[in-house]
Amino acid sequence: MSPETNIKAQNSVVRYLKDNMGTLIGLFIMCVILSFTTNGVFYSQRNLINVLRQVSSNACLAFGMTFAIITGGIDLSVGSILALSGTLSAGLIVHSGFSVPGAVATAIIIGTALGLFNGFMIATTTIPPFIVTLAMMQIARGAAYIYSNGQPIRAMIPSYQIIGTGYLGPIPYPVIYMLVFLIICVILLSKTRFGRHVYAVGGNDKAAIFSGVNVPRTKMLVYTMSGFLAAFTGVVLCARMASGQPTAGQSFEMDAIAATVLGGTSMSGGVGKIGSTMIGVLIIGVLNNGLNLLGLNSFWQQIAKGIVILLAVYVDMLKKRRK
């Protein structure tokens, strides 16, 4: 081909729709089917808000996961960091006499610090992110059990609970948090230098290095952010349950990875969008909610989730191959 041909880019809205066509259609079909099979229950305002609340924790984790996967890495420790920060927040209030803001801040700082540690190890050694965060997954989970003695720490304190149970108008706080993080992450990834460096590190780290990008710092920031989001989500979740649960967030990392991959983020790095991950989050959420409404138990939900992931990624591959 001569250099002049085939060199026109598409406008970004069109590209968003086009890139996410498969998942958007999938989501749409699911909603249509559910509107028939549930006699409209699915579309009740209460249920829709319910769905959003249910997906909010997975969404926050998946945003962090998207950053990690775009850099060519992964963060398996999010579920455990979530549990540790959650139990810490409840425990510090109940056992150590911390004020609510003090406990929450401390819990989030500790979770974030663990993320920073992940990032530090990944950026300064050649240990793969999979291994570093797998180790952290064990460590943080163990720490959560030790701290709580393996028992839920009950914390029936209104000013604490409100973090997870409050409403702004008709919208639950967790949904608000999700939307705020969604907006921040979209901007971070698509509009800032940091975001561009994230893509460069995953797309071709040699090119990033040769262009003067600070690759270690970029990786460090990504895992710190993921740790922060996990810690924050942990606090919200435990506040909502009025109890610091060391078992919270088991296998949440898998849901976050699933949502990210459903959104079309490539496991080999360099490609992915927060907006697309959000669609992935919604697909998993609607699927769970719908199967619940239809009275199918959670074991079936797992099988359905697996099938949907395979299907979605397969369709995505077909689409790419055709290009």
């Binding site: 081909m1 001569s2 250099p3 002049e4 085939n6 060199i7 026109k8 880019a9 901007i187 509009k191 800032t192 230098r193 940091f194 561009r196 460096h197 893509y199 460069a200 797309g203 071709n204 040699k206 090119a207 990033a208 290095i209 040769f210 262009s211 003067g212 990008v213 600070n214 360099g270 490609v271």
Partner: protein, 504 residues
């Protein structure tokens, strides 16, 4: 701007070692404002390593670097950029899923408080591209560009840095003459502005066209510096290889035997639109054409990489079913691909690993756990046969120089003892010494009766090595030229679609 003639850069007594390789031994280099100074040397001579010592990627163990009068060893890429040094590296350094503009400003994004000013970047990128005569939309992703187009983006990227010292490590390896001329024109402008340019290329004619001085390196050592106007091609080559190289092209006359490969009406849209030709034993058939004419794609069909083509392939006169590389190999076909780094080598594995990849079934035959002795013999044979310069068979392929990597790819396919060898751009980025060796090889193979299809954009190579030349244009063979009637003009005419004759 710096006045012309002022010394911009001095590199003195530079030493750099890698495990098993003494890459730079006491190297000296000097660059003046407003000059184009070539670095010349065989593959593995240490040119790129010297550049990387300047770019802050490697830190030399000994030696002094003086930039604008100040002695300072570059500690990082950012440090080097801050000292007014901009580098086009030999290997393409672009991020495939970022746009042209995003790549051009990577690491020095136009931003306010971390938020990127996309509009400004696009505008600046557009201007830079236009300066190089490129009418690209800066929003296009790099992955959608051809290699040559990517190379031009790489050049635009380097030019968009306000640098006093511009380094170009083989920028023209994948460019056509037209683009090269645009590049040279730009270089002349930069020279006039007082910028110093370090230029690396294996194409001797380019050195005479654009450079003022040439510094020659051999085996990591400084050989000397000469004024381009006062030297000759032969002198440069002699300094570079350390001996007289009397002959570059080796081509004996052969009497072609029976037809080995025949292709009939090969179609695989959009690049292959009806290709027919035949090749005989002992024949070297050159395949010429512009970038995008469908030459590599045709080769891919024959080699089973494209399984959606229609048409017929006959080997030794018999129709064969080739829809996979395995089937192609079983039919005695080998392909040395265009892009050695992506398609030819497993870069992160050793030289030995790469050399035996195509013949594993033989090494493991009768030895379920492999046959180390046989494997070592095989590896040693190839390293010697093609004179591959490597400290050992354990060295990682990515640490070898371009020419030596190419020899590995050729060797690994020769190991399959093919009767049809397809070479796609066999000497791209390969130095004269290694080229002469590769040509010698091709000649030997042809004499042994191997049929060779040589796809090449290098016209002298096509003219000197081919018994016959097929010219392609827009997915069709537009000419089949015998050795006697070959000329550069004729090939170019058919390559640009100037009319059909004599199509077999």
């Amino acid at each position: 701007m710096a006045e012309t003639g002022k010394i911009l850069l001095q590199m003195k007594n530079i030493h750099k070692r890698f495990p098993g390789v003494y890459a730079l031994k006491d190297v000296n280099f000097e660059l003046k404002a407003g000059e184009v100074h070539a670095l010349l040397g065989e593959n593995g001579a240490g040119k790129s390593t010297l550049i990387k010592c300047l770019a802050g990627i490697y830190i030399p163990e000994e030696g002094e670097v003086i930039v604008n009068g100040k002695s300072h060893i570059m500690q990082s890429v950012a440090d080097s950029q801050a000292h007014g040094i901009s580098v086009i590296h030999q290997e393409l350094c672009l991020v495939p899923y970022l746009s042209i503009a995003e790549n051009m400003f990577l690491g020095r994004e136009r931003n306010v408080g971390g938020i990127i000013k996309r509009g400004q970047e696009n505008e600046e990128a557009k201007k830079m591209l236009q300066r190089l005569g490129l009418d690209f939309d800066p929003n296009v992703l790099i992955k959608d560009l051809s290699i040559a187009q990517q190379q031009m983006v790489e050049i635009a990227k380097a030019l968009s840095v306000k640098a006093d010292i511009l380094v170009m490590d083989e920028p023209t390896a994948s460019l056509t003459d037209k683009e090269t001329e645009v590049l040279f024109e730009t270089m002349r402008q930069l020279k006039a502005e007082g910028i110093g340019i370090i230029y690396i290329s294996h194409r001797m004619s380019e050195l005479f066209a654009i450079t003022d001085r040439v510094t020659i390196m051999r085996d990591g050592q400084y050989v000397g510096t000469v004024n381009t106007r006062e030297t000759t091609n032969d002198q440069l080559i002699a300094m570079m290889v350390g001996r007289e190289l009397t002959q570059l092209y080796f081509k004996d006359k052969v009497n072609p035997g029976k037809v080995v490969l025949e292709v009939k009406d090969l179609v695989s849209p959009p690049f292959v639109n009806g290709v027919s030709f035949a090749i005989r034993e002992g024949e070297i058939v050159g395949m010429s054409g512009l970038v995008g004419a469908g030459r590599s794609e045709t080769a891919h069909c024959i080699f089973g990489l494209d399984d959606r083509y229609t048409g017929q392939i006959l080997i030794d006169g018999k129709p064969v079913h080739i829809r996979s590389v395995r089937q192609a190999m079983q039919n005695g076909i080998a392909l040395v691909p265009e892009n050695r780094k992506e398609e030819g080598l497993v870069l992160i594995n050793s030289v030995g690993y790469n050399l035996t990849l195509t013949v594993l079934h033989e090494i493991f035959r009768g030895h379920p756990l492999g046959n180390p002795k046989r494997e070592a013999d095989e590896i040693e044979k190839h390293i010697n046969e093609l004179a591959i310069k490597t400290p050992s068979a354990e060295q990682l392929a990515e640490n070898l120089s371009g020419g030596n990597q190419q020899k590995i790819v050729i060797a690994k396919w020769l190991a399959t003892k093919p009767k049809l060898l397809i070479l796609d751009e066999p000497t791209r980025g390969v130095d004269v010494g290694a080229r002469a060796e590769i040509y010698g090889f091709m000649n030997e193979l042809a004499k042994q009766g191997v049929a060779i299809l040589m796809i090449s954009s290098d016209l002298p190579e096509i003219l000197n090595m081919s018994d016959r030349v097929l010219v392609m244009h827009e997915g069709r063979v537009t000419a089949n030229l015998a050795k006697e009637e070959l000329s550069q003009e004729l090939i170019m005419r058919y390559a640009t679609g100037g009319g059909n004759i004599n199509v077999a």
